[in-house]
């Protein structure tokens, strides 16, 4: 039965949210212009209007989640993004897998932020909320789903499947509801994908706050006062956005198999750039608060960070990236709308800024080299150049599209080796930033001249050189570029630690945000250098095969083929692939797949043998996502089993693909990262021709490479799944097949009933064998076996050692703590001024 109510409710709420956003903008505009007498009533009306908008936005989200949660597959969104087998936390991921859900999430965060702002601000409410309401109107319009003539405004998540597709089934039965959805992309079935998008979108949403304060400041001619309320939000935004980026990187590291955490993919670049600009703007805003300089720079940077978030959204979601990105976002036809959204705010911001430009106070005097402003400014410039270097090539597809829309031809493509291309610049920029933070921090906390600077810097410099030398020698860093990185990173860490201790000794922890964040930066730099620069592929093909083409031998083979049970040497390790495993509900370890047989129901299997104390033969067990296979890879050193890894692959038919995720052995000082790049497909084996063996009990023979023993036969009293009748004779042969250190007992059965012969062959998918007992020749005491071979089970695997990757993760955590400390400090400052009634 088709439930149209929820969809209609959702759609109605979307329209209500859109209209109320416009009404709110208008009402706040009136409030802003109104005289003292009318102000109160306009404010009450504006707030009610915004709360209506807030409630309707929440209701949009609730309606969509209801559709997913209750498996309403009559809706296109639920059908194409979820399925019945999904646990609840992955239903949450389904919610924002589609772009419509992502826009709802974004709008939701804006509403939350709006409510917080209304309740924490007195003075700024009017102009700030006008900007908020306008942004909300644009965002909600993305999911409006209104078609006027040829003009399509937004793409609604509440359309029914029958309206979204032209499937013939709906002509026969318009009320057809599919049994199940097509499921969530397996890559997104990861706990990090449940929390990464909301974090990232909160980061996106919060860049609006400083922008809104700035717009308010420009309109009200309070060209500098906007900084105080905007600053804690800018830091908040940088913190959350940074956290979102790191979560995304970590998700890529644990789920995707490109072998790292950062790939310089356009989608990654598109969030990295606004973040850099945001960080630059925080620094110039802080400088302004201290010394009334860099106001114009701050204004430009705040505008830029907000616009770049919109530009990132445009790049990623308009389909303009096309072939350039591995991430495939489908074009919902929103590119025009996204472009208008971006240009609208860009236009307003430029107009207001230009109009105010000559009234904005600047300091005439040139900043001295021994002033903190000078160093901070250099830092901001470096961050700006860093962003420019990334956004320029990332925009190549947009440039092509622009040229083509004017009828030209542009065949520019992004750099072929993105990692090498971006690294050669970003590396040196990052070193510069690290050095600037170290020096800059000393200027920050005390007045400096040439002599004082020397004195302040000598000790940290000597200490960091000593530490760096130790690191370089102990960790064998022999590349000069990497030595410089170690030195720069160490200098930042040491110099900022010195400052940190001074601050803690003299005053409170509240002021420690900056030095903590910079210590984190130094660690991140060193962590990246080690984990990427010294990342070592250990799965070099050592099979000694020579190839048909001579040039092919020059190619680095970075994968190894592992046949099941066959030990393969890989640098310091001997690895053995031991077969597929499954995750079973209530069993803390992986269960070999051969113990289980699917019942045909979703995520359900029957045990074909006892498994430890967890289940008995014949028990029904529940699987955790049955499509997931975990390949058991044993790592040996000196003949002793050190550990096992279980890289995962998922075959998802409706998603039409195989997806594999790595597994890592995590040491304190390195990760050993392993993933499976290709595997055997034994679902529909292509059996080779029959081989016939005539053997006597006790005889040893060979099947393919396997040493095989025929131990004899056993007369059966009963056979599973088969009712024996009076006079039937059933015989089970015991065939032992040896494969390296594994011994397998295969027992084909032979039944005689009324001179008819029945044969029950045995198939072993791991060995790729099918054996049946074909005949018995009593006079010769020989048994005839028919054997068909397919191929042994195998995986093609890649293994990479990533040294000191934990330094990177710890560095990011320290940096985020630093941001958090700074947020509290700056909000405190704002709240004190507000409560004095000054703002």
């Amino acid at each position: 039965m088709i439930n149209t109510f929820v969809g209609n409710l959702g759609h109605f709420m979307t329209i209500l949210a859109f209209v109320s956003a416009l009404v709110t903008a208008y009402a706040y505009f009136q409030y802003f212009r109104a005289n003292e007498i009318e102000k109160a009533s306009w404010r009450r009306f504006s707030r009610i209007s915004f709360y209506v908008h807030a409630v309707s936005t929440v209701m949009i989200a609730a309606s969509l989640f209801e559709i997913i949660y209750n498996h309403r597959y009559e809706y296109f969104y639920a059908y194409s993004h979820s399925s019945k087998a999904l646990p609840v936390h992955y239903m949450i991921s389904s919610f924002w897998e589609g772009q419509e859900g992502a826009f709802i999430l974004w709008a939701f965060w804006n509403v939350v932020l709006g409510v917080v702002l209304i309740n924490t601000n007195k003075f700024w409410e009017g102009p700030v909320m006008i900007v908020f309401a306008l942004v909300q109107a644009f965002l909600v319009s993305m999911i409006l789903g209104v078609v006027i003539g040829d003009l399509k405004i937004g793409s609604s998540p509440f359309i029914l499947l029958r309206d979204a597709t032209q499937a013939p089934i709906f002509e026969l039965n318009p009320n057809f509801v599919p049994e199940d959805g097509t499921g969530l992309n397996p890559l997104l079935q990861n706990i990090w994908m449940v929390i990464h998008p909301p974090t990232l979108f909160l980061g996106y949403a919060s860049t609006l706050v400083p922008f809104a304060f700035l717009m308010g400041g420009l309109v009200m001619k309070r060209y500098s006062e906007w900084i105080r309320p905007a600053l804690p939000w800018a830091i908040f935004s940088a913190m959350i956005l940074g956290m979102g980026i790191i979560m995304g990187a970590y998700w890529a590291y644990v789920t995707l198999n490109f072998g790292g955490y950062w790939n310089w993919d356009p989608v990654e670049n598109a969030v990295y750039v606004p973040w850099l600009i945001l960080v630059a703007s925080i620094h110039t805003m802080i400088t302004f608060k201290k010394s009334n300089t860099a106001l114009k720079t701050s204004i430009v940077l705040v505008i830029l960070s907000f616009i770049l978030v919109l530009y990132a959204t445009f790049l990623v979601r308009s389909g303009v990236l096309g072939d350039a990105s591995v991430h495939s976002f489908t074009d919902l036809g929103l590119s025009g709308q996204l472009l208008i959204y971006m240009l609208f705010f860009l236009g307003i911001a430029i107009f207001l800024a230009v109009r105010a430009w000559k009234h904005i106070p600047t300091s005439e005097k040139e900043a001295s080299v021994y002033s903190r402003e000078f160093w901070i400014f250099l830092g901001a410039v470096t961050l700006g150049l860093m962003s420019f270097q990334v956004i320029l090539p990332t925009s190549i597809p947009a440039w092509n599209a622009l040229v083509e829309s004017f009828g030209g031809i542009s065949n520019m493509a992004p750099p072929a080796d993105q990692i090498e291309f971006y690294t050669k610049f970003q590396l040196w920029f990052a070193v510069t930033i690290a050095l600037l933070t170290a020096v800059g921090q000393f200027f920050w906390w005390q007045k400096m001249d040439k002599k004082a600077l020397k004195e302040a810097l000598v000790t940290p410099y000597v200490i960091s050189v000593l530490f760096s030398a130790a690191v370089i020698v102990l960790a064998k860093v022999y590349d000069w570029k990497y030595m410089i990185i170690v030195l720069a990173g160490m200098f930042t860490i040491v110099a900022n630690s010195v400052i940190l201790f001074r601050i803690l000794k003299k005053s409170t922890f509240k002021l420690a945000g900056g030095s903590l964040a910079h210590i984190g930066l130094g660690m991140i730099l060193i962590g990246i250098m080690f984990s990427s620069g010294y990342s070592d592929v250990i799965s070099i093909n050592m099979s000694g095969l020579t190839y048909s083409n001579s040039w092919e031998d020059e190619m680095n083979k970075e994968h190894v083929l592992l046949w099941i049970n066959k030990p393969t040497q890989m640098k310091d390790y001997t690895v053995i692939y031991r077969g597929r495993q499954k995750k079973v509900v209530g069993v803390p370890e992986y269960v070999p797949a051969k113990f289980l047989e699917s019942t045909g129901n979703v995520n359900e299997a029957i045990a074909v043998a006892d498994f430890k104390d967890y289940f008995k033969k014949g028990d029904k067990v529940n699987l955790v996502l049955e499509e997931n296979d975990y390949f058991k890879i044993d790592y040996y050193q000196n003949e002793a089993l050190k550990f096992s890894l279980a890289p995962m692959s998922q075959f998802n038919e409706s998603m039409g693909g195989l997806i594999s995720s790595p597994d890592s052995k995590i040491y304190l000082n390195r990760d050993l990262y392993t993933y499976v790049a290709a595997m055997n497909d034994y679902a529909d084996p292509d059996w080779k021709e029959d081989e016939i063996y005539e053997v006597s009990p006790g005889q040893q023979f060979h099947i393919a490479d396997f040493v095989t023993y025929f131990d004899g036969v056993e007369v059966m009293k009963e056979i599973e799944g088969y009712t024996l009748q009076e006079g039937d004779v059933a015989v089970k042969a015991k065939v032992r097949v040896l494969d390296y250190d594994v011994e397998k007992l295969l027992e084909p059965t032979f039944i005689i009933r009324n001179n008819q012969i029945g044969k029950l062959p045995v198939i072993d998918t791991e060995l790729g064998l099918r054996i049946s007992l074909e005949n018995i020749i009593p006079e010769k005491n020989q048994f005839v076996f028919k054997v068909n071979q397919y191929q042994k089970d195998y995986v093609v695997m890649k293994a990479i050692v990533k040294p000191y990757i934990n330094v990177l993760w710890i560095g990011t955590i320290i940096m985020l703590i630093g941001f958090t400390v700074a947020i509290f400090r700056r909000f405190d400052e704002f709240a004190k001024m507000r409560d004095k009634g000054l703002e």
Binding site: S80, L161, T165, Q166, A167, P168, I169, F170, F176, P178, E179, D180, T182, D323, V326, S328, T330, E366, A367, V381, L385, F388, Q389, L392, P393, I396, N411, M412, A413, P414, P415, A416, D417, F421, F425, N541, S543, L545, Y547, N549, W551, E552, M555, N556, K557, E558, H559, V560, L561, S649, S654, M655, G656, G657, L658, I659, S660, A677, A678, V796
Partner: protein, 138 residues
């Protein structure tokens, strides 16, 4: 000269370097014939070629040859001008390769017979475009 000017000039200089290298290192979209011309001119730069996989009636990719140790393979790609070219890729066959239709290969010619891809991007028919709702669920 004032410090501000020096910094300004420095910024402009770095920005110019960035722009020049972005243009210089940018790859380009080519067809197999223009890519071969580049190779003959001694230009070994990696370029992008967009093409279609050859498939038989049942939708199987034809001309796929997997290396003996399964860590590399070759396949036939037809570019937008209709030129057919054997492409070598030094990685195991990606899982969704069979399914993809449009493929972008990034690499260069080794010799006339073989184009070596350093990277391939696959565009799979998006599930959004699936118009045949499976009636199997009935």
């Amino acid at each position: 000269m004032k410090k501000g000017h020096i910094i300004g000039l420095g910024i402009i200089a770095i920005a110019i370097v960035i722009i020049m290298t972005s243009i210089g290192d940018a790859s380009s979209y080519e067809s197999f014939s223009t890519a071969w011309e580049m190779k003959q001119d001694g230009d070994d730069k990696a370029i992008h070629v967009v093409g279609q996989l050859k498939k038989d009636g049942s939708g199987q990719v034809t001309g796929l040859e997997i290396g003996e140790d399964k860590t590399s393979f070759t396949f036939m790609l037809v570019d937008n001008e209709g030129t057919e070219q054997k492409v070598y890729y030094n990685e195991p066959v990606p899982a969704d390769f069979q399914r993809s239709e449009q493929v972008v290969v990034i690499g260069s010619y080794r010799e006339k017979e073989i184009f070596v891809a350093d990277k391939i991007l696959m565009k799979c028919p998006s599930k959004y475009q699936e118009t045949d709702v499976q009636a199997a669920g009935m």
